[in-house]
Symmetry: C2
Subunit: 262 residues, 2 copies
DNA sequence: TACAAACGTCTCTTGTAAGAGACAATCGCT
DNA sequence: AGCGATTGTCTCTTACAAGAGACGTTTGTA
């Protein structure tokens, strides 16, 4: 990611690869495992996070001892451990909205047969927090936990509702405005979309992330005016106006049920 | 000054005074939040993990930025964050046994009306990985993720099946042999219990953790002979012989379905 | 059976992060 | 308003962890 270490201090040009804090190594490792989605050898892990092997071994050992990571079956690969699962469950327990949102999403996809998702802002990025597959043959939804540029999604437009232009600009990088197929979005258009979405209380995007789907999203409020999450349906791009309208209606009902006020 | 008593601290077996590694601070913080089960102010957190305030602020900031922790509603308390939830889901996804075990447990408690649990070893300690409440009025089961001394439980006897005396001794501290009500267990008896449990393929304990319940447990194998988890039912201590037998039968069926071989 | 590559452990050095503590700003009492 | 306790931020020092790298061992493949 961007981030950097402060170029800061004068004197002596620092070549790139200086020492990294152990804590950051941990964060990088977790994030890396999250993207690979599978157990990985420690050597490869070291390469993957660009850390020295010796350091990686030490850090991994600590994490395994603590139960945040586990050695996978064969013996020399690591992946997430039980502790992370337990902490994750704690999070769910402490978070009504997530708990109920998961249920609504599951229910919704069973009811409509379409892929349904619960989305939230996660350190400034759009994140699919829970998704339920739907019954259509090929639809592959992006993996849970995947982070996607805000401007690519309908939910993104809702999640930023209520922010002013400066805030929005701060949350969107240049790259985010380039769609997967290479098209460019204009920041101005994005800002307008957000305002519209806010006013109408929903957002529909067609063929943004890929050419075959349409995304219907509605906001979930944690307090009047504060958008905490969105629920969305991913449907074929050629879904009829009528069905789209019906689905949107359903979605709004569900979201209203989740919202605390607003 | 405060102090004067329980150093409290925790998990990292650490002598008092000196500097602590940032990584360990993180582990302590997570563990502490897991035991409190609620958002907590940073100052209190610092006290709780026995860390300097300045350090705690820095560490917490990192973790919040990374999304492992979140500032809770009011603004100056922290608790687990979405990232931990996502990592936890990754763990579940990569772990067939857990995923299916959760379902079986849910099903079992619905079917029998009794509290049902899935248990595993977690860094050498007995851990309730998932539990489903049952329909009885008062039964309060211990919280998920709670770590309990192995000798206090039926599952503990099964989880250690196949270990020799030395291994067992290493996993059990002196304190573990003292029951909540003050009674002492003998290590020898415990070892015998384990052998018996292994031979019969189940274990029943009565009034061990508390005076009102009986615990029926059976092993789940990840490979022939290797006990990876246990499923158990927590029932009133006065449950009839007959019903107990029936429940045990059910339990064994379920567990067999989960096991990979054995 | 030999050779190269990856694994896991150790040692030693030095850059740096953990911690002590000072500070201003709030909060919460009475 | 007055006082003590708490909060969040900052600075500076030095104890110590991150990293380079060497070593012996275990792959696997030619």
């Amino acid at each position: 990611m961007q981030d950097g270490n402060a170029p800061a201090v004068s004197v002596g040009q620092k070549t790139g690869g200086s020492r990294e804090k152990g804590l950051n190594r941990v964060l990088e490792i977790l994030e890396f495992l999250h993207t690979t989605q599978r157990a990985i050898g420690i050597g490869d892990l070291a390469k993957g996070v660009n850390a020295p092997r010796s350091t990686t071994y030490t850090v991994v050992r600590s994490l395994v001892e603590a139960g945040l990571l586990e050695m996978a079956g064969d013996g020399n690969r690591v992946y997430f451990g039980k502790k992370l699962y337990l902490y994750g469950m704690d999070y769910v327990r402490g978070n009504d909205l997530l708990r109920r949102g998961r249920q609504e999403v599951d229910h919704l996809s069973r009811e409509t047969g379409e892929t349904s998702e619960l989305c939230m802002l996660q350190s400034g990025r759009y994140t699919i927090v829970h998704s339920s597959p739907g019954t259509r043959p090929f639809r592959i939804s992006s993996a849970t936990g995947l982070q996607i540029p805000l401007p690519w999604t309908a939910s993104g437009r809702l999640l930023l509702a209520g922010m002013d232009r400066a805030d929005i600009e701060a949350m969107v990088s240049e790259d985010d405005l380039t769609l997967p197929d290479g098209r460019r979005l204009l920041l101005d258009d994005f800002v307008t979309d957000i305002a519209t979405a806010r006013a109408t209380g929903y957002c529909v995007t067609s063929g943004l992330v890929d050419a075959y789907t349409k995304c219907l999203a509605v906001p979930v409020f944690s307090a009047p005016g504060k958008v905490e999450a969105t629920m969305c349906l991913v449907v074929p791009i050629d879904t009829s106006e009528e069905r789209t309208g019906n689905l949107l209606g359903l979605l709004r009902d569900r979201a209203a049920r989740l919202s605390i006020g607003g």
